[in-house]
Structure formats: structure tokens, C-alpha cells
Amino acid sequence: MVKKVVEASQAIAEALKLCKPAVIAAYPITPQTHIVEHLSQMVADGDLKSEYIRVESEHSAMSACFGAACAGVRTFTATASQGLELMHEILHIVSGSRLPIVMAVANRAVSGPINIWNDWSDAMAARDCGWIQLYCETAQEALDTVIQAYKISENHEILLPTMVCIDGFYLSHTYEPVDVPDSLNGFLPDYDPVVSIDMKNPITQGSFGTPPHFQEFREQQYHAMNRAKRVIKQTNKEFAEKFGRSYGNGLIETYNIDKAKHIIISLGSICGTIKYLLEKDNIKDVGLVRIKSFRPFPEEELREILNEYESVGVLEKAVTLGIGGPVWSELRGLTSKPIADFIGGLGGRDITLDNIREVFDKIRSSDTGVHWLGSKLKGDYDD
């Protein structure tokens, strides 16, 4: 174990050095991150024996990973923002073909107006592509989650691709001390593909799914995604046994909830700021629930928790126009307790400690509305 001061982008690259994907395909320009830069350096230096394919777009990056995964090898790519949008159609094809590709997404806003700063609009828009989505709070968690993601995705009971989501800039470009394991110490087995290319025994991949069959394939994905809840928890536990680090139960993490009356729910790196504030202001009546796994959605765990507290608030960096925040709209069905929504940090705006103090006050008042943090719009928006 070596302690390195690295940005989450490099932490992810270090994880890949251990996971050894056979093929990495990436498009190198904005909104790409340093992840693939570090990886191409590792390959050039001979530290990582992967086939590194520099493609001409993100659509091609995911297509190249798809092809390589069909051939039966471990693959990786990374993207963000418009890049994730451009590969959107292939995301469905990968998950529908049950190929366990792992991709890092450095969450960033989606244009327009043109913006490359952090929020979750990119990954939230890819919510229904059939990918497992794990959101990380720290660079350390990013490294650990990439390693776990391969184990979860490649499990023959699951066979779904995984997006490891890290907040753009707040994680991707920020340096933190990170423990980099020397080896995986048997944690991640060699990739055992279900399908591969064998010239002597030809099979058909990318086949038609006609109306009498198509629906059952989706239903299988649905069940696999549900099974992923158990496998994610199990993998989190096994990781803790080997490396001494765990993240809640793998699906959600709770903080300061024992004496709390109110709960704030969020994802990603902003949870670090919330934890800091809870300690700094010595707040006892508000606890934090961090959702790590947005897909599969930890419905049972959240239902149990939400109903134990007086009121709940969601702080999220995405909006689904016409309802509110995507996390809030999912949670409303789980409890009859008041749930308020706080949309903020869009397009990279800072969420300050004062913003979060405001959020706490609103939650304490059992508010149920949708609020835009620090809105500069004047006048009534009486919609």
C-alpha cells in the first residue's frame, strides 16, 4: 500500500492499472478528463499492457468497447457531459447485450448554454440505459469503486455495465491523499466472459429481438439489476475484509443519524461538505444519508430510514423539468413524511456552507416544495 497525493482521475487510472482491462477506448478532447490521459501514459510507459484505442468520438469509444467486450475481454472507457450524450445509444446496446463494461463518468453539466462544470445532468439523463450507477464521495472511493465495479458487473448473476460517477472538478481535478494498493490480492478474479469470439464455434451476437421475445430480455435485465443490490452489498463487505475500507452498506451510507430528527439525502462529493458542516456546527438534529447506488435504487433501505424521521430534504445537482429533482421524485413514493427538494450546484456553482444551513432550516420546517438554491431570479414564478 502506497499513499499518493493524486486527483480522483489518477486514482481511477491507478485502479485500472490493477484491474488490467485488455482494451481501453477513449476520445481525448473536452469534456474528457485526465483519466484517459493517465491511462495512455501508463500504456505508453509499458506499465499497463492494454490495447489503447484512440477513437474519433465518444460514440466510437463505446462502440469499440462494445466490440471488444463481445470478443470476450475486460474493457474500460471514460467520459462526461456531451461525451456521454453522444454515446447514449450504445449505452443501451451494451446493457442489452449484457456486457460488463466499466466506465468512469466525471459528472458535468450538459449544454446549453455551453458549460463543462460539475453537476449530475449527464449521468442522470443516462439513468434508464440499464447501467449500474455508483456515485463516489472521494478520490479514494473512486479508486475502490472502480475495482468493485468490475467484480459486480462481471458476476455471472449480474452481467450489467457500471458507470462509476465522480463529480467533475470537485473530484476529477482535486488532489487528495489516496491509498493505492500494491495488488488486488485475489479480490478480483480473472474475467470469465459469457460470450467471446471463437472461430471454431461461431455464435450470433447483436441479434434481433422480435416482439415475441424482446420484452423478456428487458425483464431479465430488470431482475439482474435487482440482484445487483445484494451483490453490491456483498462486494462492499468483501472489499472491507481485503482492504479495510467500506462505504456504508455499499448502496447507502449514513452519517450522524442516531440522534437526528431530520434527514438530508444527497450523492457524491457534496456529502463531504455536509459531513464537515454537521461537525463544524455541532448539529445533532440532522443526519445525512448518502445514496451511493442510484441504479439499482436502494428502495428498501431508504424506505426504512425515511419513515423513522420527522422530515427529509434532498440536495441534488440535477433537475428533471416538469417534476423537480430526479432523486427527490424517486423518494417521494417511499414515505408519507414531508420531503423537500433543493436543486443547486448546477453548471458548477458552489454549494456553500450557508446554502446547506438554509437547507437544514427548511428541512426542519417540514417543507415539501422544490427550491432553487441561491436563485438570482427576481420576481414571482407563480407556476
Binding site: S97, V195, P202, T204, E216, F217, Q220
Partner: protein, 90 residues
């Protein structure tokens, strides 16, 4: 996963047999025809996106497998001696 297999919904809709039995030649609107001008250079064989052309080593002429040729006419366009002609599929 076992019960899924019994119902023959293979994970990922992969089919554990060749798609050879699924003949696709009927999709053709135009039919490429190799004429006597063919010099057997193999350019069409290399460029056919469906692998339906082989140069016969005995006759040294390109032969098209019409069970799978979809009539894209790339072969006609790449032929250096213009040995491939098209006709409307009947």
C-alpha cells in the same frame, strides 16, 4: 439465471449458433454479376462487407454467394477493371 436458460432467453440475446441458416439474399434490390472481364485480383473479396465473395482458385474468377449478398454494389464500385455489372433483382 437457470430458469431463464430453460426458457431459451439467452442472457444478452446472444444466440449460441451461427447465423448461417438465416439467409439474407432476399434483401437485395440490385444483383451484382461478375463478367468474363474479371482478373481474379480479389479487391471485391476484401471489400465485401458481408464476406460473400470468394475468388475461385481454379477459375481465378470472383464468385458471389447470393444466399447472403445484399446487393450493396461496393464490389462493382471498387473493381479495377469494371468486371462487375448490376441488374435489377427480379
Amino acid at each position: 439465471m437457470n430458469d431463464e436458460k430453460e426458457e431459451k432467453f439467452n442472457i444478452g440475446a446472444h444466440v449460441y449458433e451461427s447465423s448461417e441458416s438465416n439467409k439474407t439474399g432476399s434483401w437485395r434490390a440490385f444483383k451484382p454479376i461478375v463478367t468474363d472481364k474479371c482478373i481474379g485480383c480479389g479487391t471485391c473479396e476484401k471489400t465485401c462487407p458481408d464476406g460473400t465473395i470468394k475468388v475461385n482458385p481454379k477459375t481465378k474468377k470472383a464468385e458471389i454467394d447470393y444466399d447472403y449478398c445484399k446487393g450493396c454494389l461496393i464490389c462493382m464500385n471498387v473493381c479495377p477493371v469494371k468486371a462487375i455489372e448490376k441488374e435489377i433483382e427480379k
